[in-house]
Symmetry: C2
Subunit: 368 residues, 2 copies
């Protein structure tokens, strides 16, 4: 048996018991809410995790890059939504991939509609809608929303999948109630636009929403009237940001960075570990937070019994992390990342553990 | 001929003319200063760049991880300093690598000396000294500095290479003069400690210093008395932080991220591009700066003729970047990163260009 206490650091540790519980919980929640689950795989970038999501009933997957789409297509996933506004410099790859699997694109501009039309081949397309984040997506109140939906619905080539949104502003919520309100507003905007379009004679086959804070804050008893699918991603691992948002507890967090103390100056109230910006990412975490990762009280593998020590990473350079507590050289520490998606993308593999035992290694497909 | 105007985005573009000029300039400067150059390869992680550094006279290379050390060893580099405090959980890999090449370690603790001694094999070791950054390294005024140097010099197994420091606080300098003063202080501290140790009968074979701001701010006519080698790394590409520090001009910056506008809401003063946190990194750049990347006025390949447009990336999520200017969907933009080392580490390859022509693709060895 390989133990978590012996492996080289830095390493990214995935707690399999925690992952499985998180997967089951979200599958049950979407089932209770009456929507299908199309999980966003950008958080884990891992075939073994996606296979477990599929086994629990996921109806297709979501990806953030064409690279991810190709990887999952190569591993037997046949229904993939690329939930990023289609990049017009990559249409050759889109065509190649759409010939192999059901690839679903998203867009919010006439330029993108025209470019896809010009390919003269059937392509699934969602219309991206801005439900309040104001990042991308059409304004649901604007004439453009109607015009673009009509262009898609009436296209001789494009297949209109429906309306899709990501209420990313749920991450700005200051309480579970505020986040639940954002989630309900997301639903209301999307269902409302779908009704308006149907009133104009446009068939809207589906309505897709979802973020981990929104899905977590929504009560089990909520009604998702008008919504057909949800696309949360971060829930597989959560992270310190989700703890701060109330989406989960510390013991629900599925990935941690295992690090070693490499330097401590006698008398100093800090030490240096081998987890810097290229292990943690430089994500600042929840608003007003002043750290890059929270140090656990023990360095075992499982987060199931984990409590935070109160020490944290206070600054990062490329490979150096500064921990604001005086641990001796050689001490092994487990660190909870601020943002698991960005942390995972810095590693090539997960050390998969049950408790303190390393039971597997899973590849992280972090290409571009 | 493949043109930079046709390639898929996002892409990391390396301007070969700029790189070559940067390499020649630093080689000439270290020669003029009378020190050898052992460039830090953590910035580029690229065999082709390191080969050019070697051809211009580099005396060995510096790396930040054992992975980098292995990659360069596999590609014919035989003298490698791992300039990170030796990680005690990775001594098996250290032994394996030290059997293949001249691997030079650094340390600053009795625990590390003891762990290396216990391997009972000849290993090259530098003593890391804190010349003012207060990150890692022994306090040069402390008894520990003398004790550790003596332990290394008198070890039956370890080979004492000398004193090594990184004056990372040169990045905090507010003017070229302040940075030059930090660099001179770095020299003074290191040369002073070497003399003190020699006075105690300890042979100090070499003294290694270096950061790109310090090496850039130092006048050609400076004297590096007491110093034998310099280890700058970032100078191969520079970045917006180095421009702000006065280390270089915008036209000396060697890597940029090529991105496409994917979404723009009519009337908005911003747009969305396909360069988010996993293209740029979330490095905040120079102190007080409020952006994640500066947009060039034109999207050609060469930075040699480049000027900044004034627009910048104002926020980043995983794959989305927000540019604070209303470019239409499909527009191609070139973005100058805040921190080239972290940006490079997000990509798998460089598109190598001369002017607008793509002349090669070089692998980025970004494993861990």
């Amino acid at each position: 048996m390989e133990s978590i206490h012996d492996v080289p650091t830095p390493a990214l540790v995935l707690d399999l018991d925690v992952l499985e519980a998180n997967l089951r919980r979200m599958a049950a929640k979407t089932a209770a809410l009456g929507v299908s689950l199309r999980p966003h795989t950008k958080t884990h970038k891992c075939v073994e995790v996606a296979e477990r999501q599929r086994a629990l009933g996921a109806a297709g997957i979501t990806v953030s890059t064409l690279y991810e789409a190709r990887v999952f297509a190569d591993h037997g996933f046949s229904d993939i939504t690329w939930a990023f506004p289609v990049i017009l410099s990559r249409l050759r790859e889109v065509e190649e991939l759409a010939a192999r699997v059901t690839l679903r694109l998203i867009l919010d501009s006439p330029a993108a509609v025209d470019a896809l039309e010009a390919l003269r081949r059937p392509l699934h397309v969602w219309l991206e809608v801005d439900s309040g984040q104001h990042r991308s997506g059409v304004d649901p109140e604007s004439p453009a929303a109607l015009e673009l939906a009509r262009a898609l619905a009436e296209s001789p080539w494009l297949i209109f999948d429906g309306l899709l949104t990501h209420a990313g502003h749920s991450y700005d919520g200051k309480s579970r109630e505020e986040i639940a309100a954002v989630a309900e507003e997301e639903r209301r905007v999307m269902a409302g636009l779908a009704e308006r379009l149907r009133g104009e004679g446009i068939e809207v086959p589906a309505v897709s929403v979802g973020s981990t804070p929104g899905m977590s804050a929504r009560p089990e008893t909520a009604r998702l009237d008008g919504v057909t699918e949800a696309r949360p991603g971060n829930y597989v691992f959560y992270d310190y940001t989700q703890v701060a948002l109330g989406s989960c507890r510390v013991v629900d967090c599925g990935v941690t960075v295992l690090a070693s103390v490499v330097s401590h100056r006698p008398g100093d109230e800090q030490c240096v570990v081998d987890a810097g910006a290229l292990a943690m990412s430089k994500d600042l975490g929840p608003r007003g937070h002043a750290g890059f990762g929270e140090v656990f009280a023990d360095s075992g593998g499982g987060t199931g019994a984990g409590t935070l020590s109160g020490a944290r990473l206070t600054s990062l350079s490329q490979e150096h992390g500064i921990v604001g507590a005086p641990f001796p050289v050689g001490t092994r520490l487990r660190v909870l990342p601020n943002h698991s998606c960005l942390t995972v993308a810095q590693f090539d593999e997960y050390l998969v553990v049950r408790g303190d035992e390393v039971v597997d290694r899973w590849k992280i497909w972090r290409g571009r």
